[in-house]
């Protein structure tokens, strides 16, 4: 799949010197759903705002569909739809007017049939003549989505679309996102719920303190989650793993001083007893053993701690 959004070494320092983005590199493929997972203050909104032109980057390069967001901002921005984190809407405006406005603002010719389709898709059609202030919170968020979709964006940013939304609405939102993906839109959404990223994303990026810590396919990431490693330290270094111990789950450390066994804590048997028996059979002498969580677990545990603080 071709890259539709390319972010290279993006940095952003706010006035006052605070560095909210510390060199972010991220490539998004056409048609995928990427979830940016990170605690409050991680820099998710800053990243989106910089790509969309709401704040200016301190340095770095961003292209959308090959168009530079600075030098070729019209072409780049025409491709982007943004659903902001805050519900920013004019309370006295009618739903249909604000959606029409968005389409016009992006330079697209009037197309009432198109707007009707979008509003129906979001179950807003019977509210089209209502004033924004008459709508519930969930509906307001849909209006924001309708505005973002009104100009046929190819890349859609959803900044915490389900923050402060009840369970039912969250499910609705996930369905909407799945529907958009089916229609070919590339979606980048931010969230601080692991479950949300797990439920809808193709890939997950983890961001904290202005740094993108990792980006990985959801399935691989989830497989790594819940795994632990057992490190078996040896008295004498070895050059290769003895035949009896060879398995995809067993690795030799770089210095040959330790065997590293990855196992699933959720599985019925961890296989540790068997492994240790085989170690003894192979004539290896143990110096020590240690277990640790995979680095990903550490990240998430860290994130949760930060969230609780």
């Amino acid at each position: 799949m071709p890259t539709i959004l390319d972010i290279q070494d993006l940095r952003k320092s706010y006035a006052g010197g605070f560095e909210a983005l510390k060199g972010v590199d991220l490539q998004i493929e056409k048609g995928e759903i990427l979830a940016l997972l990170g605690p409050n203050g991680a820099g998710k909104t800053t990243l989106i705002s910089t790509v969309c032109g709401i704040t200016t980057a301190t340095s770095g390069k961003v292209t959308v569909g090959g168009h530079d967001i600075h030098d070729d901002f019209r072409a780049a921005r025409s491709m982007i739809g943004l659903v902001p984190q805050e519900i920013n809407l004019e309370p006295f405006e009618k739903v249909i007017n604000t959606v029409r406005f968005s389409r016009g603002l992006f330079g697209r010719p009037a197309d009432e049939a198109k707007l009707e389709k979008i509003l129906r898709q979001l179950s807003l059609w019977d509210k089209k003549d209502s004033q924004i202030r008459e709508l519930s919170g969930g509906m307001k968020r849909r209006v924001l989505i309708a505005k973002a979709l009104s100009h046929d964006p190819q890349v859609l940013f959803l900044d915490e679309p389900t923050a402060g939304v009840d369970v039912e609405l969250r499910k609705d939102m996930w369905e909407i996102v799945a529907g958009l993906k089916a229609s070919g839109v590339t979606i980048i959404l931010t969230t601080h719920y692991i479950e949300e990223a797990e439920a809808i994303a193709d890939r997950i990026g983890v961001i904290a303190r202005g740094e993108l810590l990792l980006v990985e396919e959801k399935d691989k990431l989830m497989a790594r989650l819940g795994k632990k490693q057992l490190e078996v330290q040896l008295t004498e270094p070895i050059t290769e793993i003895p035949l009896a111990l060879q398995s995809p789950d067993v690795e030799l450390s770089a210095d040959g001083q330790a065997l590293i066994y990855t196992y699933d804590t959720n599985a019925e048997r961890t296989g540790i007893t068997k492994l240790l028996a085989k170690v003894a059979e192979s004539g290896l002498v143990l110096r020590d053993v240690a277990t640790r969580q995979s680095s990903l677990e550490d990240i998430f545990v860290g994130m949760l701690k930060e969230d609780a603080a």
Binding site: A15, T55, T56, N88, E90, F92, L105
Partner: protein
């Protein structure tokens, strides 16, 4: 130029105006009528004529200018400040438009509203006094130019303002006094010599004088000076707008 976007901003702003159309019409009609009753009838009965024009007719250009200037500023400043205040400005900033297109949309709409109100005041005035407009084309041109230049100024104030108080500050502390002291209700030549000199530092004097010339063919200052003054003022506002565009001042973090 993204004309579709400009039109979208313009239409959106005008819709807001027409949503409160009765209020938009009634209030200038009412206040103009009051001015005629208070100034025209009460004071006018003591002053017969100013520069060969009845006092009631004499104050018409000043009255129109007074409203048009205040309206242009408040419409344009509110127009751009409001999206900043409620957060909808994100859409303007992320749209494929440049700053000048935003300016044209908002300033155009604000100037149109002010022009509309100026016209209503003129029509109202016809019910109270006899006026024949000597230079109708110059009158319209002057009116439009005033609407645009003060809407530009209002736009700048709206960009600058960080809260509602600041939004009111400049109009209240600077513009309103200048307009009232700008000869709306009197001729500069009626003032003591010292005040005549001081008045020449008030830019609004040139506007009102020029506008009055279009009505009656005579003025406090030569018409060319008036034209030059408004041209300078417009150029100044455009210069500031250009600078804001270059620096992204107060719009983008």
């Amino acid at each position: 130029m993204n004309w579709t976007a400009i039109k979208a901003i313009y239409t959106f702003e005008m819709t807001r105006f027409f949503r409160t159309i009765t209020q938009s019409i009634i209030s200038p009609v009412l206040s103009t009528s009051l001015y005629f009753v208070v100034f025209g009838a009460a004071i006018g009965s003591r002053i017969d004529e100013v520069e060969g024009v009845s006092y009631g007719a004499f104050i018409v250009p000043g009255l129109i200018m007074l409203s048009v200037i205040t309206q242009s500023i408040s419409n344009a400043s509110f127009g751009i400040y409001f999206p900043k205040f409620i957060g909808t400005v994100y859409e303007l900033l992320s749209a494929p438009i440049n700053f000048f297109e935003i300016v044209i949309g908002y300033v155009g709409a604000a100037a149109t509203k002010a022009l509309f109100i100026g016209t209503i005041i003129l029509i109202t005035a016809f019910f109270f006094v006899d006026i024949t407009i000597q230079h109708p084309i110059a009158m319209v041109a002057f009116l439009i130019l005033t609407c645009i230049s003060f809407a530009l100024m209002g736009f700048i104030i709206g960009i600058w303002a960080g809260n509602f108080e600041q939004l009111q500050l400049v109009p209240l502390l600077i513009v309103t006094p200048l307009v009232f002291l700008g000869g709306s209700f009197y001729s500069i030549s009626m003032l003591p010599p010292v005040w005549q000199v001081i008045s020449h530092f008030n830019p609004v004097v040139y506007l009102i004088s020029g506008f009055r010339w279009a009505f009656f063919g005579s003025a406090d200052v030569p018409i060319l000076t008036s034209l030059l003054a408004i041209a300078l003022f417009t150029a100044l506002c455009l210069g500031v707008i250009w600078w804001i565009f270059r620096t992204g001042w107060r719009l983008r973090a």
